[in-house]
C-alpha cells in the first residue's frame, strides 16, 4: 500500500494534502496497491473522493497540539503494521518537518518537494530545487520511499468515492517524542491587508534608493488598498522589515497586480512574484529581466512615475 500523511485543522483538510493525495493515488493506481491515509487526533470526512480506502487516526491524550517528533512517530507506527512501499506528505512546513523525522527515525532517504514520480524498483522522481527556480531529476532508492509533494504543482482532483474504512489507534509515544510541542500561539492581526492575500502588491527594490523613498510606494498601496513588498536588497539594507520580502527566502505572493518598482528581477525574487496574475515593472533599464518578463512595463525613474500616478489617482477620487 501507499500511505499519505494528511494535515488538518479542526476537521478541515489542508488543500496541499489533497494535492498530495492526488499524486499518491495515481502512483497507487499505476502500481495496483491501495492508498491509505493517516491523520492526527480527529477523523476527517471526504477522503474517499481522493482515493483513500482506509484512514488511520492516531489518538493519544497527550497529543493536544502540533508535536513534530510525536506526529512522525505515529506515522512510523502505522508503517510498522502496514508496510507501505511509499509514504507521502504535503511539502508544507509541517509536512516537510514530519517527513524528515520519519526519514531520520528509519534511517531512510527522503525527497522533498517532488513534482512527478515514475515508479519501479527505484523511483525516478522530479523535485524542486532553489525554491522552484530549478528542477532535479533523481533516483530514490530503498524501501520505503519517503517524499513530500511540492505545493501548488498538482491540481487536486476527485474520483468516484468509495467507503473509507476508519481505523483509530493509540500510538505508543515516549517522553522524548513529546518534548517539542506548540506551547502557545499568537493570532494573526485582523483587519490588515497581508502581503500574501493582497489584490495589489506595490514592491520596491534597490532602485527605491532609501527607506524614505518607500513613502511613495506606501501612498500608492494605500490608494489601491494593497500591501507594500520589497526585494531582499530592500530588506537587507534595513529599508523594509523582512516580513515585506518577496521571494525564495521571503513570501510568495499571488495578487491580481504586482507592481515591481526598481527591482531587477533576479530569479530568487521572480519565484516569489511569478504567481501574480499581472506584473507591471517600473524600471530605468529597458533590459532588466523584470521588464522583459513582465506583462506591462514603464521605462523611467520610479520617483517620477509614482508621484505622477498618485497625483492622477487623487484627482480622480476628488472629481468623483
Amino acid at each position: 500500500m501507499i500511505l499519505g500523511f494528511v494535515e488538518q485543522d479542526g476537521g478541515k483538510v489542508n488543500p496541499h494534502s489533497l494535492e498530495m493525495l492526488t499524486l499518491a493515488r495515481r502512483l497507487a493506481g499505476e502500481t495496483a496497491v491501495p492508498l491509505h491515509a493517516v491523520v492526527m487526533g480527529e477523523a476527517v470526512d471526504g477522503l474517499g473522493a481522493y482515493g483513500v480506502s482506509a484512514l488511520h487516526i492516531a489518538q493519544h491524550p497527550d497529543l493536544t497540539d502540533f508535536a513534530p517528533a510525536a506526529w512522525a512517530e505515529c506515522v512510523v507506527q502505522v508503517m510498522a503494521v502496514e508496510r507501505p512501499t511509499a509514504v507521502f506528505a504535503a511539502g508544507t512546513e509541517r509536512g516537510n518537518e514530519v517527513m524528515a523525522y520519519v526519514a531520520a527515525k528509519l534511517g531512510a532517504a527522503m525527497a522533498a518537494n517532488v513534482t512527478a514520480v515514475v515508479p519501479g524498483d527505484d523511483y525516478r522522481i522530479t523535485r524542486l530545487r532553489w525554491g522552484g527556480s530549478l528542477l532535479e531529476e533523481a533516483w530514490l532508492k530503498g524501501t520505503p520511499k519517503l517524499m513530500t509533494v511540492a505545493p501548488l504543482v498538482i491540481q487536486a482532483t476527485m474520483v468516484e468515492s468509495d467507503e473509507v474504512e476508519v481505523r483509530p489507534f493509540p500510538p505508543n509515544l515516549s517522553a522524548a517524542d513529546l518534548r517539542v510541542m506548540v506551547n502557545g500561539r499568537t493570532q494573526p492581526e485582523s483587519g490588515k491587508v497581508t502581503l500574501a492575500d493582497a489584490r495589489v502588491v506595490v514592491s520596491g527594490g534597490r532602485g527605491v534608493g532609501s527607506a524614505e523613498g518607500f513613502a511613495v510606494l506606501e501612498e500608492l498601496a494605500d490608494l489601491l488598498g494593497g500591501a507594500v513588498g520589497g526585494s531582499r536588497v530592500a530588506t537587507n539594507l534595513g529599508w523594509r522589515p523582512h516580513a515585506a520580502q518577496v521571494g525564495q527566502t521571503g513570501t510568495r505572493v499571488a495578487p491580481d497586480l504586482y507592481i515591481a518598482c526598481g527591482i531587477s528581477g533576479a530569479i530568487q525574487h521572480w519565484v516569489g512574484c511569478k504567481g501574480a496574475k499581472h506584473i507591471l515593472a517600473i524600471n530605468t533599464d529597458p533590459d532588466a529581466p523584470m521588464v522583459t518578463k513582465a506583462d506591462y512595463a514603464v521605462i523611467g525613474d520610479l520617483h517620477e512615475v509614482l508621484p505622477a500616478l498618485i497625483a492622477e489617482l487623487r484627482q480622480r477620487i476628488q472629481s468623483e
Partner: protein, 253 residues
C-alpha cells in the same frame, strides 16, 4: 554557551541559472558565492547569543576548498572558530551530509546547534532534523524568533499569519529562517581578526558504504519559461494614463 552553526556555500545566481554541460551542476564561472541566507541569520544569532551569555561560536561547513571563503565570512562577523569538512566538490546527499556533521557533534558537547531550515540550493529540509534525531536532542524548525532563558530555549515560528511558540530544554537543535534578525556586514577589522582565528580542515566521516536507501541526482533541468511579450506603456510620467487604464481594466480603481 557552546554553539555550533552549520553553513553551506551557495552560488549567488542572478536572473537566469545556466547549467554545466553535464547538467549536474550550475555553471558558476561568472558567479560570486554566499552563505545560504537562512544560515547567515543563524551565524548572526549565534554571535548575538554569545555576546549576551558568553561562550563560543563554531561554524562548520562541508564543501570544497573554496568554501573556506564562507567560513572566513562567518569568522569576520564574530564566530570564534571554524571547521571545514573538505570535499572534492561533488554533491553529498542530505543523509551523508548529516552523518558527517553528526560525527563532529558527537565529539564535542554543544549546547545549541543551529541550522538553516533548508539549504538555498538543494532545499532538502532535513539535515538539522537528522542531526537532532541521531543525537537524541529536541529540535524546533523554521524559527524566526529565539531567546535563551537559563537552560531553556524559547522559539517562535510563523504559522497561518500568527506565531507558534515552542520551548525546549538545552542542548537543542534549532533550524532558522531569514528574518530571524538582520545580519551585520563584516567590517575591515573583523576581516583582519578572522585571519587569525582557527580554521581546522578535516576529512569528513563517510558513513560505511553501500547505503541501501539514497537520493541520487541524475540531472538538473531549467523549468520552461512561459514567454510572453511585454507591453511597454511608455517612458516616465507620460505612461500614467495607460497605467490608469490598466488599473481600470483590472478593476483596481
Amino acid at each position: 554557551m557552546n554553539i555550533l552553526v552549520c553553513i553551506k556555500r551557495v552560488p549567488a545566481t542572478g536572473a537566469r541559472i545556466t547549467l554545466t554541460a553535464d547538467e549536474r551542476g550550475i555553471d558558476t564561472r561568472n558567479l560570486g558565492f554566499a552563505i545560504s541566507p537562512h544560515e547567515e541569520c543563524a551565524v548572526e544569532e549565534a554571535v548575538r547569543l554569545v555576546e549576551a551569555h558568553g561562550g563560543r561560536v563554531t561554524v562548520l561547513t562541508l564543501g570544497p576548498a573554496e568554501a573556506a571563503e564562507q567560513l572566513r565570512d562567518a569568522l569576520a562577523v564574530g564566530a570564534d572558530r571554524a571547521i571545514h569538512l573538505l570535499t572534492d566538490g561533488s554533491e553529498w546527499d542530505p543523509m551523508a551530509t548529516a552523518n558527517a556533521i553528526i560525527a563532529v557533534a558527537r565529539a564535542e558537547p554543544f549546547d545549541l546547534l543551529l541550522f538553516g531550515n533548508e539549504a538555498a540550493d538543494t532545499g532538502d529540509y532535513q539535515v538539522g532534523i537528522r542531526v537532532a534525531v541521531a543525537l537524541g536532542l529536541p529540535c524546533v524548525t523554521g524559527v524566526k524568533g529565539l531567546a535563551v532563558q537559563g537552560d531553556t530555549v524559547v522559539a517562535r515560528r510563523e504559522f497561518g499569519g500568527g506565531w507558534e511558540i515552542y520551548e525546549a530544554p538545552l542542548p537543542a537543535v534549532i533550524t532558522v529562517k531569514e528574518g530571524l534578525n538582520l545580519p551585520r556586514y563584516p567590517s575591515v577589522p573583523g576581516r583582519l581578526r578572522a585571519k587569525k582565528k582557527p580554521l581546522d580542515q578535516m576529512e569528513p566521516a563517510r558513513q560505511g558504504g553501500g547505503a541501501t536507501s539514497s537520493l541520487e541526482m541524475v540531472r538538473l533541468v531549467t523549468p520552461p519559461e512561459q514567454r510572453k511579450t511585454v507591453q511597454v506603456l511608455g517612458q516616465g510620467g507620460t505612461a500614467v494614463p495607460r497605467i490608469v487604464e490598466i488599473l481600470q481594466e483590472l478593476r483596481l480603481v
